[in-house]
Every structure is written in C-alpha cells, then in structure tokens.
C-alpha cells in the first residue's frame, strides 16, 4: 500500500488540508467496457418528434447529466436498476447511503462546527484587533490563547513592516507609490492571503510567514553565522517534529508567540506535514489556526467540496447544490468573515433545500449570513427608521461610519439582484422603483454582532416604516413579515418559474434549451408551488432531455472536467484541495466568482485557446500522477493482467474506461500512434498550481535523483507506475472527446 497511508491521520497542512481517501478499487473492468453508445441507435426508427437516445447510451447520458461524470462501475449499477429507477433514487438522496463520504468529512472540523464556535477557535483578524484594542476579551482556554497570541503577534509584525514601508515611501515618494495591495482580485493559490475588500490586506512582502523554508532571507545580509543559525533552527524544528504527537503539540504550546512563528517558518513543507501526523483533526486545526487562520478554513471548504463532487453517492444532490450556489452566488473574498459563513452556506442553507421547495430555499438564502454580507443587505438601513433618526450617536450593529457621520440609509444591491438574478430574471418586469421599495422592505434584515458569531436578526430599529409598493402589491407595515410577503410574491411569480426552469435546462439539457421544454417545466414549477424535485422530474422525463441532439452537447466546465476525470479514473484523492487548485487554475476558482451572476454554464465561457491548453496540460500531469496527493492506479483499473497487455490493448481498455468507447476515429488513431510509434519519452513537467502550491509538486524521478540529500517523505511517492498507460490516459482525458458530456 501507498506510503502515505501509514500517516492516515496526517491529513492536515496549514494551508493544505488533505485526507487519505481510500477509493473503492473493486470491480473495475467488465462493466466499464460499455457498449459504444451509438451501437443500439443506428438502426432505430426515428421517433415522430425527435430522434431519441436509446439503449445503453441512455445510461451514459443520464450519468453524464445527473452526476459529475460516470465512475467505473456506475454503468452496470444503473443498468441493473434501470435508468428510471436510478433517476428516481437520485431525486431522493436521503434514501442513498453516503456513510463512506460522511466518514471522510468528519476529518474536517471546521465544516462540522457552528460558525460561532469556529470563529472562537480560528479567530478572524477583526476580532483579534478588537482584543488588541481592548474591546474584546481573550478566551479563557489556554490552548486557544496560544492561537490568539500567535495571530496577534503576526498581525503586529505585519503592521510594523507596513509602517516601515510607509515611512520609507514618505521619505521617497517618487520611487515608492502609496501602498496599494487591496487583494480584491483572486489569484489561484492565494486565497489564504486574499483578505477581501473589507479587511486590511496583509502586504505580501511584509508577511512574516511568507518566507518559506530554504528561502528565508535573514534581515541582514546572509553571512556564515546566519547560515549556521539557519541550520540549527532547521535541526531544532525537525527535532520537535520527530517527537510523539502529544509532546509535539505541548512543545509548540509552550513556546512564546515569536518563537512559535519562527519555528513554523523554519519548517519545510514536508516537516509541516510530518508535524500534524498523528494529531487529531481538531489539534491539527488548532495548529493551523495559529499561523494561517483564513487558509485553515478555505482549505477545508475547498477540500470537502471536491470530496463531495468526486465521491458522494448522492451525485444529483451535489450537482444541484453546485447549481444553487452558482445561482445564489457569493464571493469568498467579500470580507474576512465570508469563509466562516460559507461553511454553513452550502451545507445548511443550500444542500438541505437543493431538491426541496424553492420558496424555502429563497427564504433560507435571504436570511443567510453569506448573502446578507455579500449583497450588503446587512448594512442597509431604512432612511426613516429609528436607527437613522438617532444616527447622531452612530448606527449600531453592522454599519461602520467613516470620518464624517451621515445618516445611514438604503443599499439597493440585494433588492436588485434578488429580482434580477434570484427570482424574476432581468426581463421579469420590475422597475427601479421596485428595487428601492424592495430595499425598504428588507431594511433591518441584518447580522447580529458578527464578530461574536451572531446570525440573522430582524432589527426593527433599522426597518423603514410605512407601507411599501412592490410589483403592484401594497405591502402593509409589519416588520419582518414584509420580507416574507415579498419573497412569496417573487417565488410564486410565473417569471421566476420560467427563469429558474430555463437555468436548470441550460445546466442539464443544452446551452439553448427548447422553449417548449422550459414552458412545461415552468408549468410544473407553478402547479407544485416551486417543488424543485418535480421540476427536475418534468425535465428528466421529457423527450427533449433524451433527444439525440443533446448527446455530448454540453461542454464541461472546469469543475466538471476535473471532477469527471477523477471519477472516470477512480482516482485516489489524498489531497482533495489539490483538485480545487487545479479547477482554479482552469479558470473557475471555487467560491470566488466575483460578480453576483455566478459562472456561465455554457460552452462559450469555457472554450478558448488558453483554456484548452490548460486542460491538455492538466490531463497529462493528472494521468501521470504529477499532482501531489492525486494518485491514479492505471494498472489496477486495467485489471490483473495489465502488465501483459499490448499497448493497443491498453489503449482500447482505457478508451472504454474513460470514454466508454465513445470517441472519434481521429482521437483513437492519434493516441494509438503515439503509443506504438514512440516510446514514452515526454519530459515530465509539473502542473503549476499557483503560489501556495509551488512547494507541493511531486518531484519527478530525475529531480529526486538530483537531490542527493532528499529524504523519503509522503510527497515523494513515484509509485510503480505504468507510464505508457498514464500517457494514454492523459491523451484521452485531454482529448476533445473528453471535454463534452
């Protein structure tokens, strides 16, 4: 077995949370050799309306659309059940056992905790600043105090560095423009440092933790003496890492904050991984929270998302959760608290309602901290509310005034997107006046004491008094219930039914879905009062869904591409966060779509010269196990006699496994020629995963040899690996045929 599994619980790294995922490697070959989908169709009589997908191709089509891609074994499972029964099962996720996944998810403590508790354990920077300023209390727990003290020390170091820089630039204004780095824009792998618009951005250069092992530049010019110290520090760090888990933590907790920071900085990536081996997930989270609190949470969000899409048996529920996240999009970079809010947004707000009632979902989103923060409703105040009237004393709660005090007032952001994006659609017949009226209705829907982990509250002091007039309805003054009334009007509007149905059909059927299908779905939506499951049923059992023209007609988004590659290959995903970084690299960073529109689900957004090159590169690196902690076992997939197979036999089997034999003759020829004509000699090249991951790339064989002092570590894991099969799989996954579903 793989060396890393000896450290089964070493799932954690400060900015890379990972967990050993033992993927079922059972029954891989027979059922995956599916009948080529077109075989049973060719002779079929054309239906009167549209030619339908028939035979086993229906199974593949259903799996392609209702899941993140078929896994080996899925086709025979669905075949045994029957497609209809399987679809019905997917529509009732509560009846599907997902205990294996749930077991894995337990290793991610942040995802199990209440936001309030998580904020206490992994303190966000604004809370720490409050403590520094004496406006909040340090926790009683001594272990937590270590986290807080370390973080406070880091913040202070950053501020000092910032101040130095500013002093420097004021002396030398021409050469040093004012410090700018508002990290509003997201770059891959930098989520941990991108602190979002409302936070004070850490200056990258001044970060006491950015200096990595081996790159650490001492403050003065490096001299022999410094080097000696460096070596000593390394030794000391390694010494602690080698202690038993309990003593290890105790040693770190006994350190002074500055000592702790220096200890952490001196750890190599491998040391950091080694350090957490044997710790409980909670201890590991604690360790991580000391040094990289934001990344501690973001990593767990990303990792669990990738685990779910790759590994959940409740695939339709995951597809729909992803659909709703994109529909009710929020951006993780909106402020320092958003990562905390996202731990509940998908799991408690979206997923439980993903196949339920639309109005319930809309209501849950409207009250969610994530949405209240993202679209600014948390700060919107009725201009004639009590809070506005008494504003001389400054508004309480979430609004922060600036230098001058002005009466707080409305913010239209949520009101507009509620109608344009969440419900009616842009042509749904609302006016600018409706936007203002809806903003009045929702004034007072806010977050209570956000830094103490507070949740939704209706604050009557901030609510605009008087009646409101929304879309021709008069809404009488009755506080929080006004909002519910408006949500009800919107959720039951035919425009909403049409808008949601159209989006669903775009995701599941085609980029330009048939209006007749959308109308029937909208009808179901209205008749069932927004029963999402029934709307899906109408779609799944429509002739349009099964029309031959929909076969492979959707281009995979980067998430779908990466997830489907891992599912088709039955990949052992030890570090799911690596897959998330790859998705970001392909242009679709999870939780970080900046505009409220969400990502496009249509082909034109994802097909470009640059994105195709990235997909080919991902495919080759992925198949050749060059993504750290993402391991493919091609020989296991090929079955017990894999080593005796001729190249052409391997190729043919992999075609069946990865593409169910559905590929063009040209692709087949090109792959085969590559195998037969040329021995495998491509220069292995790591797939770049952005700054945070640079150190994580698995060294290739040559690099490992070049480094004579290299110690065996969990990352240096070139397994006995069939490079020929890997090349074949890489070419197939990077082929145009794999880009569609």
């Amino acid at each position: 077995m793989h060396s890393f599994t000896s450290a089964r619980q070493a799932w954690f790294l400060p900015w890379l949370l990972a967990l050993p995922m033992v993927v079922g490697t059972q029954s891989l070959s027979s059922e995956s050799r599916a009948v080529p989908p077109d075989a049973s169709i060719t002779s079929t009589a054309r239906s009167a309306v549209t030619r339908q997908i028939e035979g086993d191709a229906r199974i593949v089509h259903a799996l392609d659309r209702l899941t993140f891609g078929p896994r080996p074994g899925d086709i025979s499972t669905v075949k045994a059940m029957g497609v209809e029964a399987w679809i019905n099962q997917q529509l009732h996720p509560e009846k599907i056992d997902d205990s294996a996944l749930e077991q894995q998810l337990k290793l991610y403590p942040a995802m199990q905790m209440k936001v309030k508790d998580l904020m206490m354990q992994v303190p966000p920077p604004p809370l720490l600043r409050q403590i520094v300023n004496g406006r909040a209390q340090m926790p009683q727990d001594e272990t937590l105090q270590a986290v807080y003290q370390t973080q406070i020390a880091i913040i202070q170091m950053r501020e000092q560095a910032q101040a130095l820089k500013q002093a420097d630039s004021s002396q030398n204004p021409a050469q040093n423009p004012p410090q700018q780095p508002q990290a509003a824009a997201h770059t891959q792998g930098q989520m941990g440092t991108a602190s979002g618009p409302a936070a004070t951005p850490p200056s990258a250069g001044a970060d006491p933790l950015t200096a990595q092992h081996g790159q650490h530049v001492p403050p003065t010019d490096p001299s022999l003496e410094d080097k000696k110290e460096q070596i000593l520090a390394d030794l000391q760090a390694t010494g602690i890492v080698n202690l038993p888990p309990k003593q290890r933590m105790a040693k770190v907790l006994a350190m002074q904050p500055l000592e702790r920071i220096s200890f952490y900085r001196d750890l190599s990536l491998e040391d950091r991984l080694a350090f957490v081996q044997g710790l409980t997930p909670q201890q590991a989270q604690l360790f991580s929270a000391m040094f990289a609190p934001r990344r501690t949470i973001v990593s767990q969000l990303e990792a669990t998302k990738m685990l779910r899409v790759v590994d959940s048996n409740r695939q339709l529920q995951e597809v729909m959760t992803d659909f709703w996240f994109n529909h009710f999009n929020v951006d993780i970079r909106k402020g320092p608290l958003m990562p905390y809010y996202l731990t509940e947004y998908e799991n408690k707000v979206l997923r439980p309602n993903a196949l339920g009632n639309f109005e319930d979902l809309l209501d849950a989103v409207a009250r969610s901290r994530a949405m209240l923060l993202y679209l600014d409703n948390a700060s919107s105040v009725g201009p004639h509310s009590l809070a506005a009237m008494q504003s001389q004393r400054g508004p309480g709660g979430y609004v922060r005034t600036q230098t001058k005090r002005v009466p707080p007032g409305l913010n239209e952001n949520y009101a507009r997107e509620l109608m344009e994006l969440h419900t009616l659609g842009v042509n749904g017949g609302y006016t600018q006046q409706d936007v203002i009226e809806v903003a009045r209705v929702f004034s007072g829907w806010t977050i209570e004491k956000p830094l103490q982990g507070g949740g939704f509250v209706f604050n009557p002091r901030r609510h605009e008094p008087g009646p409101k007039y929304v879309l021709g309805h008069t809404i009488d003054e009755h506080g929080e219930a006004e909002g519910l009334e408006v949500l009800h009007i919107l959720a039951t509007s035919p425009a909403t039914a049409h808008h949601i149905s159209e989006e669903l059909a775009e995701r599941f059927v085609g980029d330009k879905p048939s209006p007749a299908l959308v109308n029937r779905m909208a009808q179901t939506f209205l008749v069932t009062h927004g029963d999402i499951r029934q709307v899906l049923r109408t779609m799944f059992f429509s002739p349009e869904f099964w029309a031959q023209s929909t076969w492979n007609a959707k281009v995979k988004t980067p998430l779908e591409f990466v997830a489907s590659a891992a599912r088709a290959s039955d990949t052992q995903v030890e570090f799911p966060v690596v897959l998330a970084l790859a998705v970001a690299r392909l242009g679709m960073p999870l939780y970080a779509c900046q505009p409220p529109t969400g990502y496009s689900m249509n082909a034109d957004a994802w097909i470009s010269s640059g994105s195709l090159v990235e997909r080919m590169n991902f495919a080759m690196a992925f198949a050749d196990n060059r993504l750290p902690g993402v391991v493919n076992h091609w020989n296991a997939l090929l079955g017990p006699d894999a080593i005796t197979l001729e190249p052409s036999q391997k190729e043919s089997q992999l075609e069946n496994i990865l593409l169910r034999g559905d590929l063009s003759a040209k692709t087949h020829d090109a792959v085969l020629r590559e195998l037969v004509d040329a021995p495998v000699q491509t220069q292995p090249h790591p797939f770049p995963l952005g700054g945070a991951m640079q150190g994580y790339i698995v060294p290739t064989a040559e690099q490992t040899n070049a480094d004579a002092n290299a110690q065996p570590t969990p990352f240096r894991q070139p397994l006995p690996h069939d490079r020929q099969a890997a090349l074949t799989a890489g070419l197939l996954i990077g082929s145009p045929d794999f880009q569609n579903r």
Partner: protein, 416 residues
Amino acid sequence: MSISRRVFLRNGALAIVGTSAIPSFLTRSVLAEAASAGRCKRKLVVIFQRGAADGLNIVVPHAEPSYFEMRPTIGIPREQVLDLDGFFGLHPAMSSLLPLWKQGHLAMVHAAGSPDTTRSHFDAQDYMESGTPGVKSTSDGWLNRALQAEDERQRHHDATPFRAVAVSTDVPRTLVGRVPTVALKNIGDFRQLDAFDRHSDDPFQEMYDSTSNSAIRGAGKEAFNAMQMLRAASPGQYVPAAGANYPGSPFGQSLRQIAQLMKSNYGVEAAFADVDGWDHHHNEGGVQGQLANRLHDFSASLAAFWTDLGDEAENTVLVTMSEFGRTARQNGTGGTDHGHANVMFVMGGPVRGGHVYGRWPGLAPEQLYQDRDLAVTTDFRRVLSEAAYKTIRAQDLSRVFPGSGMQPNLFLNVIA
C-alpha cells in the same frame, strides 16, 4: 519623461534627426514614422472595468457644488483632488497618470455611456461588449467586427494568430466573432508542458484539428497556431522596459502580457483585458479606501504599460470602459448604487490629451437622470468608433455598430 513624443512628431522629423540630445527612442520612433508614412500600423487596446466604476470619484467634478452635497463622506475634498482643468480633477490615488495627462497623451470623456438604461451588470456589460445596446441577439462583439471591418486595401501584412488577443481564460464578449482570438492568461504558461517535440505532428493537435465540435476545433486551431509562433520566437523571460513597474495585481500582469506581445512583433492589432472589483455598494471610501486601492492599482498599471511600450506607445491607443456609472448621491452604507453615465479614458501616442471631452450635463437635481444618476451625453460608441476607425482602420462603422448611425462626423476628435 516630460517631453511629449507627439509634439516631436508634429514638429517634424527632420528637425531633430541628428540631434544627439534627443533620447534615442524618440529619434527612432520619429524616423520610423517618417519612413513608413501612412503605413504605420496602429493598435487598439480595450480595457473593461467590470462592476461599474464610480466615474464621479475617478474624474471628480470638483467645481460642482452639488458634488460635495451629494457625497458628504465619500466625496474627494477639492484640496486633495489632482486638478486637471479647474473643473475636473483626478482621484488622488491616480497620481501616476498625471505625467501622461501633462504630456498630452491622456484624455477623458466624461458623462459617456449607453443609450440603454439597464442597471443590470450583466445586461449592461453584454450590450456594451456586443456594441448593440438593447439588442440581445447580437452574436459577436464590437471589437471583433471592427477587425472584420478593416479596410482590406490597407493591410500590409498577413494576419497572425495574435491579431486579436484577450488576457483572460475565456474569449470576452467584446472579441467573440469571426476573427480568431487568442485568449491566454499568461504567456509563459501558454504552451504544452509535455511537448511532443520529436513528432512533426502533435497528437493533441491532430485530435483537435479533426473534432466535430466546431467551437472546440476553432479554439484548438488558434491555440496550436499561437503556440507554434511563441515557440519559434521563444519568448523566454520578459523584462519590461526600465521604469515600467507593473503592480503584481492581476490587472498589472494583464497589461504586462499585452505589452510583451505588442513589443515582440507578434502582429497584435487589438488587445483586451478586464479588471474587476468596482462594485462598491458599501464602504467605498474617499481619498482612501476600497475605490482608492482599485484606482491606485489601475493607474499604476496603466502608467507602467505606457512606460513599457516605449516606441510602441506612439502607435497605440488604449480605451477604458465600464458598464455604467454609479449614483450621484452616496447611499446609506457609505457606497454608491447602480447609476448611468461614466467616464472613459483614452490614452496613447496619437491621443489629443490634456483635455476632458464630452458635454458635462451637470449634477443639479434637475440635471440628473431620474433624479439620481449622471446623465449620458456621449454615446460610448462615438468614442469606440473613433478609436477603431483611427487605429485598426475599421472604415465601415455601420458594420461595427449596426443601427447606430456612427460616422466620422460624430467623432469627438480625441485621437489625431
């Protein structure tokens, strides 16, 4: 550099040839201009500020008394504005652009915008990028049509894969259309990591050349052509010109990529980049704060681009746009909501800069659009038409902006 390149050009090349006191890049560009009179190929760079930038806090109408009344906490105090002409002033975070303004290479068009009044980010961007406000069915983007509308007789070199370039993962709406567009995020990464060098035929290329999906086939073709060209030229490590200090931000890096491609003679005619993060409903800030941070990055990136281009700047025009402006009054949460007219920047060697163009509609309540927004007095297509016409020779404006009635007599003459 305080000397305007354009002034040298205007004053004639002969006058300065042989003058050793003149910086060499100036003589070079002047000589090049003289040698290729009328043939010199101008380039157009288009920047989209996504999210609706707050034009009233970017080019501040500091002589408007109502400006300060409507923006009590986020307004830029008159004494801190970088005055341009006694009426308008730049946001103080944009000081890096002042030299360009003074040299006459930077102009603004204020109160520009779309005749369509939607306040939806998505629709407004879509209309601006398609160039057909109010028409949803337009399938291509205005800049792609502008390349199609180029006067063929004027062409003097074959199109390269890099004729149209977007620094993004997807082909932006602005460049969608018949003329192939290379979309790349990073030149260094735009290559196959596993090179199949020993073959004349790359297996991926073979597959992509023959796939039945025409969109994938087209993008694949662009990708392989572009990669071949990059490989032949081996871009290697790019070192920007001295003094060109690009911020490490995504926008700074986007402009750096464009400069690299333009300077390396890949045949770029039109380039596009976008920059997001302008949707400041909450806590926008004034002299400092969220918008100030964006603007600092924005202007430092543009200034670095200008410096980096060197001679190339002489033939380059850069235009900025954003889907709409923001409310004239600040909202109740220290930000601004979706508005209407905005400001566009026009920068480059041939620009008649040092002037704020457009008719100023005023900020008095009765002058505002719907009593809340800066009114549009200049159709954004007038600015884009002129830029396309005078750079990439898009002569047939009815093709670029169908139904708009755009003609040279509507130009503001921002560009020489």
